[in-house]
Symmetry: C2
Subunit: 366 residues, 2 copies
């Protein structure tokens, strides 16, 4: 069956290998995930965590942080350990830094292998393979040519795709295949063409986005136009919208583009723990009731229903609101802070009512 | 050659018939034009004109105004006569109203022929043909089914396209072929699919857009995603973005989507009159100099250079700034209002400097 939008109004996604980024599957038909990248300095652990919480609340699935050198990797480790969403290490030039970041718990490493070399790629693929994490070869059209090398726009797209596939081939020859590729240009046409060419020529999941789109209406228009074209053709497994200096805005825009394409459900998402030995009472029943009572809400709230107070509020930091069971009662928490106790009999009703109040904050987006 | 984005990063547009809406060509490979629709009451001539000036300044090429009944057509006529851009009459139910609007100078008539009937279409096509104006058959997915009739989403797209082409066939059988078609759904997938089907099945230019997109980021994401997909595939000859209650925003968004797709040039547009017997001095030289001096500006300003003060400020109402020659000197005008005299020797420099100041108002969109 042909990829893309079919006459049943379904989008047949291009078949790709699946890789795992923390708890998020990328490729293989999994829901298209939204990524963003932190702006805080690497040594500002609190600042980085604040950004990741903001991103997660905006609906972002995967975060990313630059790791400029080996020393920075320990800060990365602190942030990754406390992050509400899987954290990718963005590494350039130095395979030692990449290895240090993997050691510190990176859920994925993004490299631009043009500046890492074949030996570095060998070390990286060994370490990533041992850690069971994927590598993204992320190329921007601006960085694909060597200094002094020139090419017109058309040739640049071809060079970008060809070289990136060569790098992927090198990793693959090392026996490493948990590869994600990205091809970003600062304009819609190059971005779309490069991803179309790559989609024809390789089985790897594609991370899609326009680079240096700026901000404001034109930036959103560029990203939505490129991603609309690609995703409706079934191309793209994870995305990042990039807005100059606006992490929350870009995360929200990524989600909005997926909602616009009906690739992400509107309305609340009820996050529930899998339950364990600490769980008391009928958590699944509570989840079902909360889902029923909030089904009419159109705002993209995250509502958590957690079985215990050990990990409940902590694991659900990304939630707007939630309850965690605790010794026979529930505790209502809002953005990670416990507010009050609820009796089990009316926990669902009160949680739904609080969610409804929060939904009003999202305003008339619909 | 296949339609759409090719490996030279050019978009090959689908071949369509060309029609003329006032001075704007729609279809036949002409630049994709941006439309909007007034919100003012029909009898509020001043309000309608204010909206059209706003729209034109935002880069909109064609306006539209609802004409609910025959009586309203005279108000439409007053607005059309003074509008800075061609004005389309939006008519439902009653062919008499459509004829009255044509009589009053409509540059195009938009109908939803499901509520006009075959006899009405016959009268309409006669009148539009005599006036030399096109007719848009504009169908929304919400209005395509008769009361009580139901269909699932997929069937609705098929019904929408099939019935609209039947109506186009009726007009064509009457010998009238200056037809534009539109297929708008409130979601991206239906909009894209309907236009793809229509593009395969007919030679008429397509007016593309998502209906009832709401407003804010999600609305822009929906419109840009749908139009990005269609326009990069070479489908779409004129567009309207619809934002709830925000005419200026929707006009600007339409322009931004075209700029994002590189289907409309960024930067200033120098509007110049064709020159005539009233022209004194070297107007073409002045135009060239102004173009040179403003070439670095990225804001989508409209700069007018007019040869006389008879029509200069009036015809250039849509311009942000301009000069009109008058008895050996130039008069600088801003948004249609004459401000001061300039000596011919430095008119280009002063106009460019004023344009530069205005460009700053557009902010960091790039």
């Amino acid at each position: 069956m042909q990829n893309g939008l079919n006459e049943d109004l379904e989008v047949t996604r291009r078949g790709t290998r699946a890789v795992r980024v923390g708890g998020v599957i990328v490729g293989g038909g999994a829901q298209v995930s939204v990524q963003t990248m932190n702006r805080s300095n690497c040594d500002d652990v609190e600042g980085n965590l604040r950004e990741l919480v903001l991103a997660a609340k905006a609906g972002c699935d995967i975060g990313r942080m630059a790791v400029p050198n080996v020393k920075a990797a320990s800060f990365f480790g602190k942030v990754a350990a406390a992050s509400p969403i899987p954290l990718v290490a963005d590494v350039h030039f130095d395979w030692r830094t990449a290895l240090a970041a993997i050691n510190e718990g990176a859920a994925k490493v993004r490299v631009n292998p043009g500046n890492m070399g074949r030996d570095g790629l060998a070390r990286l693929s060994d370490a990533a393979g041992a850690a069971g994490i994927p590598v993204r070869i992320g190329v921007n059209s601006g960085s694909v040519l060597a200094p002094g090398e020139t090419a017109d726009d058309k040739a640049r797209v071809d060079v970008m795709v060809r070289r990136t596939l060569e790098w992927a081939g090198i990793l693959s020859n090392f026996g490493f295949r948990d590869i994600v590729l990205s091809f970003k240009a600062h304009n819609v046409r190059e971005t779309v063409l490069a991803n179309r060419l790559a989609a024809e020529r390789c089985p790897y999941p594609l991370h899609v986005g326009v680079t240096a789109a700026g901000r404001g209406g034109l930036a959103l228009a560029k990203s939505a136009a490129a991603l609309g074209s690609l995703l409706l053709d079934g191309i793209g497994d994870t995305l990042r919208v990039g807005f100059t200096g606006d992490l929350e805005g870009e995360a929200r825009a990524g989600v909005e583009i997926l909602r616009a394409l009906e690739l992400r459900a509107a309305g609340p998402e009820v996050i529930a723990c899998p339950t364990c030995g600490r769980t008391r009472g009928d958590l699944a029943g509570l989840v079902a009731k909360v889902e029923e009572l909030t089904a009419h809400i159109r705002a993209p709230l995250r509502i958590a229903v957690m079985g215990c107070e050990v990990n409940g509020p902590g694991e659900a930091r990304a939630a707007d609101i939630g309850v965690a069971s605790s010794g026979g009662v529930f505790r209502l928490f809002r953005r990670g802070v416990v507010e009050r106790r609820l009796a089990p009999e009316n926990a669902a009703e009160i949680l739904a009512a609080e969610a409804e109040k929060l939904a009003l904050d999202y305003g008339g987006d619909e």
